[in-house]
Symmetry: C2
Subunit: 334 residues, 2 copies
């Protein structure tokens, strides 16, 4: 959007449900009425509903359901997160693009958002179902002053922020849980996935990319068959559409605070919030570790550094730093 | 080099100082004498010295001082390291290229070698002086089954392999020391630098690139002024040129064994070899840590995970995972 169109949009919005005459707009913005008309046309092409009113004025009716910078950035309460904001109608993967921006020196907090992804990625090479205009797909570039051993809980910090943001959007915040390390669930079904990719020089993190996908308004009936039982969306759970722009804004603010807390004081600072949403304790789990080894036991809890503690079936205790965890079904009470 | 030229080279080499008639070559390789002549010409263009002898035969005189695959790979005793081997006359940075190969899915052990680098890189954004044809500049792509906290000692394992390879090339192996984390010194002067760059997905290492530069035959008089006092080359120390091909081969074999030992048993397996070359214990050090904080104290030793233990001047003990270490001059005994 051009600066001129942005000023016209702002002017029209300041009088909701009112109307503004072309002459008044022309005077207050210092451009011709023909120019005003061109800006209004380009705003309409972008999806804004602006009515013409008799006598040559305009009336702002509605913004499109898009994560445009002019929608998300006003009212965004962050210091560094999303201050550089790239919005795309579609891309292969927001994480791939953010990683490339990282390699080219983009700043801490640079954020990519896409309305849809053609090759959305999840952990371990899995895909993330990314239909357009219904969800949030965003990747944030971070340049945290961390060593490699300190980096893994970044994903846990992000999971806390996503979980708390979803909790603020539903009538039953207690229905939000975190499946270690970083799936956020609603009523036991996956609503959000987080993918962290990282580049390091020696033992220092050069940059990390946090990719966050949240199922907001997608109809679970459209999920690929293999996800249908295990996933849901906030709207499906809540029975009401989510305001994606407001959700993104709240998420960015919550995430910035969580990341700042983590960098300042380590995962310890976020552990109470993580544990409040951690429902795995006492449940049987199966973990496939980084090397491919399999571990079967009962989840005990989370360590101060974010590792998952598991009591193995043979009686010993294991700490899992990286692994793919399946929850066994809880035994029925018969 | 074409397969045909390689076969001609191999045939000529099998009879060192002898001569081979064009007719005999033509018969044994099943190609025309004109073809043989073309192959000899292309070998000469590549720097091989091959004399023509009266009666139409050829005599192999000498191979060029180049790290060509046909020089390094025969006799290389590795299972996976340098089995994929890219040799370049020049490149900006072997690490950058190996990292790109990593992003494109190149296999564990893929190796890049350049005769010279136009933008050789060292740790912390420093440059690595890389004049052509005199040293070794090589980068190895690794796909180790490690989590992020386990990755930092990879550079220490590489330092051990480089140090032991240099020690095998000099008359006084005890002159080789390691400055934590990964500079290898000869008589107290830097001879080698190692730069590790890494990409991770979540808490798992996706791939790591170990970049190794060793000053072999470079004349220290050609060093930029700021390095001249602090650096040397193996040849300058030893008073004799190093066979770069033999050095590269030995390094690859030693490095593969060190990395296999590390992945199988952790840094603990290599710690005795590291400690044997660690001369920092008891010396005053100044460490700039990842976050920029400065730490002044006395180096104590290396922990089981490769961290540097420092007794701070205020009496406490600190563990350094990532940092830039300066050794203070030892106090004179006056």
């Amino acid at each position: 959007m051009t600066p001129g169109s942005a000023r016209v949009l702002e002017a029209l919005r300041t009088i909701p449900r009112g109307k503004l005459s072309g002459a008044a707009l022309s005077t207050s913005l210092g451009v011709s009425r023909a120019q005003i008309w061109k800006h209004v046309e380009s705003l309409r092409a972008r999806g804004y509903r602006i009515e013409g009113v008799t006598g040559g004025g305009y009336r702002f009716v509605a913004a499109p359901d898009r994560l445009y910078p002019e929608e998300v950035l006003p009212g965004l309460e962050t210091r560094w997160l999303a201050r550089s904001y790239v919005h795309l109608e579609t891309t292969d993967s927001t994480n791939r693009l953010a990683f490339e921006l990282g390699m080219r020196g983009a700043p801490h907090g640079a954020t990519v958002v896409a309305e849809g992804q053609t090759a959305g990625r999840g952990r371990l090479g899995r895909s993330f179902f990314s239909p357009p205009h219904v969800n949030l797909y965003t990747s944030i570039l971070l340049r945290p002053p961390l060593t490699l051993p300190e980096a893994p809980p970044l994903v846990l910090a992000a999971a806390v922020a996503v979980a708390d943001t979803i909790a603020a959007a539903v009538h039953d915040p207690a229905a939000v849980s975190i499946k270690w390390p970083n799936d956020v669930q609603l009523g036991g079904r996956k609503t959000s996935g987080i993918l962290m990719e990282l580049q390091a020089e020696g033992s220092r993190v050069a940059f990390a990319v946090l990719g966050i996908g949240v199922n907001l308004n997608v109809d679970p009936g459209s999920f690929p068959a293999e996800f249908r039982d295990a996933a849901t969306s906030v709207a499906a759970f809540q029975g009401r559409r989510v305001d994606r722009v407001a959700f993104a804004r709240l998420l960015y603010g919550t995430l910035e605070a969580a990341l700042d807390a983590f960098v300042a004081g380590g995962f310890e600072r976020l552990r109470p919030r993580f544990e409040a949403r951690f429902r795995m304790a006492g449940r049987p789990v199966r973990v496939v570790e980084a090397g491919g080894a399999e571990l079967v036991g009962v989840a005990l809890g989370i360590d101060a550094d974010g590792a998952l503690r598991v009591r193995r079936d043979d009686g010993g205790t294991a700490r899992v730093i990286a692994g793919d965890v399946s929850l066994a079904k809880e035994a029925s009470a018969s």
